[in-house]
């Protein structure tokens, strides 16, 4: 049976009907990786670790996992040479829950080293190519995961987002990327970046797949004290309800955005209205402040988190840090040093608080906010050097929701005339993943994006 372009939930249902065996599914994706990995460079390590669990939800479903999740006995590098030979002695909560559900691990996907970046160009294992045009980046930092799903090398994948690292590569690769609320999914066993921001989440072909995977990985974890002890919904059931919502649109999220992206976003808004949702203009704080908050808090947390890599207990010495990690550690160390702490770190935490309040106020009037995911489409490999603040500029529209710890989902909303996909995002209330999944699934149906088109390049 040809599995090209079959979503994760479709594969699960085909397998349940015994139309295909687990072994056949795994072999199918392994072969595709063998054939196209040389061209795309999605993986740092290929594993094909076949699950021993044969009755879980994911039995027979192979997944690709970003290489910053610790996997017991399997090399975990965070795409940095510092961890080139690091074999974790324990399993992250997310992969552990997926293992219990019967996941087969296809491999560990490429990212910007330490997840510092928005293009995968800072990876110590080479850039991942955008499946739509291999001269372009897939976005980042979860670029390997997004490209693998787009090209059909994995039916679905898991990434992490600090401020755009799931939604941006999802938008640039024409797939679905869900960043859950901060604390909805455990960070235990993930190579830490910005600890008060990091959120693991699914990168998938469909909203339904994202709902299915979120339900497995979400929930309280005693190993991560920042996880919310709140009920996890049956998200797949939630998206079947097709509710009508009030959708907020904020002008601030259209400033400086490519005109074709603006037009496609407006077409989506018109579709939402036609489906019976009500559209309401709202006013949000300019995303430019979130950039500053992110720049200060993330660098500070990075300088602290990367302090542990000394090559004594595992990994290589600090001389193996790349350029970008060093630059971030230096800025973070500087702004945390005495005399600067109040004016930088503390000020930024206070503005972050206001960003959250700003969202909360708007959410008194609307159920969700819709906006473009990125200001432009994927950039050409090498263009990173042309921008003073590449990541900040590309993530400008994703950073506010991350700063506020809110859930958001990016789905493909059309193609740009340059041949690259465009994403639109729904931002929701804290812990209300159900609503953004529900409305994203409705828009997905109306947009009817052809995700199979790009996969046909890889046959």
């Amino acid at each position: 049976m040809d599995l090209l372009g079959k979503s994760a939930t479709e594969i699960i249902s085909i397998r349940k009907k015994n139309q295909v065996s687990s072994g056949e599914v795994i072999e199918y994706f392994s072969k595709r990786i063998e054939k196209f990995e040389g061209k795309l460079n999605c993986f740092v390590t290929k594993t094909e670790k076949v699950s021993q669990v044969d009755n879980g939800v994911l039995a027979g479903l192979p997944l690709a996992i970003k290489d910053n999740f610790c996997t017991k006995g399997i090399r975990t590098t965070a795409s940095s040479k510092v961890l080139d030979d690091f074999i974790p002695a324990f399993e992250s909560t997310v992969t552990s829950r997926l293992n219990q559900a019967g996941m087969t691990l296809l491999g560990k996907t490429n990212l910007d080293a330490w997840a510092h970046g928005s293009s995968t160009e800072t990876s110590d294992y080479g850039v991942t190519k955008n499946p739509y045009n291999i001269e372009y980046v897939p976005g980042g930092s979860s670029g390997g995961s997004a490209a693998a799903v787009a090209a059909g090398l994995a039916p679905a994948a898991i990434g992490t987002e600090t401020a755009g690292s799931i939604r941006l590569p999802a938008a640039w690769c024409g797939v679905v990327g869900l960043k859950p609320s901060y604390g909805r999914v455990s960070r235990y066993g993930i190579v830490a970046m910005g600890s008060s921001w990091d959120c693991p989440g699914p990168i998938t072909q469909t909203v339904e797949d994202a709902a299915m995977l979120l339900e497995i990985i979400a929930g309280h974890d005693s190993n991560d004290a920042t996880t919310a002890n709140e009920r996890v919904e049956n998200y797949q059931q939630v998206i079947d309800q097709k509710k009508k919502y009030t959708v907020g649109i904020s002008e601030e999220y259209f400033e400086g955005v490519d005109s074709e992206i603006v037009n496609l976003t407006k077409e989506s808004i018109a579709k939402l209205e036609k489906m019976g949702h009500s559209i309401k203009p709202v006013k949000l704080m300019s995303p430019k402040y979130a950039i500053s908050v992110y720049m200060l808090l993330q660098r500070s947390e990075v300088s602290s988190n990367l302090g542990r890599y000394d090559g004594i207990r595992y990994g290589q010495e600090r001389t193996h840090f790349g350029h970008e990690a060093k630059r971030r550690i230096i800025l973070g160390t500087h702004v945390l040093s005495s005399g600067y702490y109040d004016s930088y770190y503390k000020k930024a935490t206070k503005v972050r608080y206001l960003i959250r309040q700003d969202f909360e106020k708007v959410f008194e009037e609307v159920d969700v906010i819709f906006a473009p995911t990125t200001p432009i489409t994927a950039t050409k490999i090498g263009d990173l050097e042309k921008y003073a603040f590449y990541g900040e500029m590309m993530d400008v529209l994703t950073e506010p929701a991350s700063a506020a710890g809110l859930p958001a989902i990016s789905i493909p909303i059309g193609m740009h005339s340059n041949g690259l996909p465009v994403g639109g995002q729904f931002m929701g209330k804290y812990l209300d993943e159900g609503t953004i999944l529900n409305i994203a699934s409705q828009l997905e149906e109306a947009v009817n994006f052809d995700r199979h088109l790009v996969m046909k390049k890889y046959e």
Partner: protein
């Protein structure tokens, strides 16, 4: 906050030392102006009045959680597991650089 900060190469080298990083000559050359650019950008935060905002560290409404002070053996590593990734061990210990020298 202070107006645009000037960062010198010497300062960058001092910060690098604090952070236990070795910089290439090229990085020492480039980092000062790149850091200045970043610090200049974040000055827009001064446009926002935060005088009424309480001190905070996380954005979520979660409260502190406390755990019983007991050993959870299920998440403990054996000595062999803990030393598996170590390049330099001696009698079951991590070997670190000597920091106290005999005079």
């Amino acid at each position: 906050m202070k107006p645009s900060q000037k960062i010198t190469k010497v300062e960058v080298e001092q910060i690098a030392k604090l952070a236990n990083l070795s910089l290439s000559p090229d990085e020492v050359e480039k980092f000062p102006s790149q850091l200045e650019e970043s610090l200049e950008y974040v000055e827009n935060l001064q446009e926002i009045d935060t005088s009424q905002v309480p001190e905070n560290y996380f954005t979520t409404p979660l409260k502190n959680v406390l755990a019983e002070d007991i050993v959870d053996e299920s998440i403990m590593l054996t000595q062999a597991e803990a030393l598996k990734n170590v390049k330099n061990t001696k009698r079951g210990y991590f070997v670190v650089k000597r920091i106290i020298h005999e005079s």
